[in-house]
Symmetry: C2
Subunit: 224 residues, 2 copies
């Protein structure tokens, strides 16, 4: 086996921590370093990693980007991100279904560099990750067309804590009973402030709009 | 609003419970009643409910079937199951990402009837539900084609605790980079005893094989 270009680290939860306090402290540290930190959450297989392989090359000229890939097991995602030339680290949660701010901090320290744009690809799960503030500046959730337009009804907290919703895999919409307007209405019912961006991470459709949203948020954070 | 044909109950976790003991006791009670209890787990949107709408009409002549639909919120699934004429109940977990055996017992009691074949549609989540024995006789997990063939690598425990894997949405396989043989190999690497059944819950392809598997398991349990 050849040496990997990314590290895999085991992160541990501190069950005595005050997560909200840790998250605020982490955000403050990142603010001082000029780092915009995005937490991406979704169901397994919604296309978090594929979306990143579209977004990163478009923004890499302008920003120094680092990616933390969180998973129960495996390192397929860190390998994918490293293959497109970005700095990535694989975080293994030891069976944990979510990341806390303290676990995120361990990941950031293990990256050993400062970034303009830091991305956490959270554990694929619509329930638990929504319950823990990771210290992110913004939360983005991805819903893919094959999952169905009713998902915002079933996982309300995920939509309430998110700032943007990416509707992914719109290229396969003709093959599924998916009503994009109904999906948007369901999502906005959960969170009227949600920015909704339909994309196909496979074909690249809509990715420019997503990058424009990200640039706006990164610049707003830097200038805040 | 018209009166609903199914109940919605709020179930609560008893954090002091010994879940494995509760699960064994529940299995014993169900055994005495001649009830086969199947726990279905998957990622959100894999097609648990749609699969049930195919399976239930095929087996309803032979078995009395009851369905527990577990969700954080909403009752769309119980409504769907009731619409096909089956007895269903909606369990709200109050934000919990999984069901324990005690929570399951509360659902079974609320159904207020005995069944030959009792089905729990667990919370859509590949992580937490795998960690708790619900008292089921068999566990079935569903992976849908759009989620990707690498998912068994990422969620090992789900595959280890499952007896069967349904690969759903095979009708859309031509539109995704999904290698069914690679998926099977990944799944069998996690659990060599897994029975793997490819289906399309939309077109009905493979559903007879799934029903045959279920009948075998139900009869084996009754005669054990």
């Amino acid at each position: 086996m050849t040496e990997k270009e990314y590290r895999i680290i085991e992160i541990k939860e501190n069950i005595f921590a005050d997560n909200n306090k840790d998250a605020d402290a982490l955000r403050q540290t990142l603010k001082e370093k000029g780092t915009f930190f995005l937490n991406i959450m979704s169901s397994p297989g919604s296309g978090k990693t594929t979306t990143l392989t579209q977004v990163i090359p478009r923004l890499a000229q302008k920003y120094k980007i680092g990616v933390m890939e969180a998973d129960i097991d495996s390192d397929v995602d860190a390998a994918t991100i490293t293959a497109i030339g970005a700095k990535a680290i694989q975080l293994h949660t030891g069976g944990m279904c979510h990341l806390t701010a303290e676990m995120t901090r361990q990941g950031i320290e293990a990256l050993e560099e400062d970034f303009d744009f830091l991305i956490l690809e959270n554990v694929g799960n619509l329930v638990c990750p929504a319950e823990f503030d990771t210290g992110s500046v913004k939360n983005l959730t991805i819903l893919s067309v094959p999952e169905g337009d009713d998902k915002p009804l079933k996982y309300p907290l995920m939509y309430q804590v998110s700032h943007a919703l990416v509707i992914n895999k719109i290229d396969v919409a003709p093959y599924f009973d998916f009503d994009i307007e109904k999906c948007k209405a369901n999502a906005l019912m959960r969170n009227p402030d949600l920015d909704i961006i339909p994309i196909s991470a496979k074909t690249g459709e809509g990715v420019d709009e997503l990058c424009a949203w990200l640039e706006r948020e990164i610049e707003a954070w830097k200038n805040s």
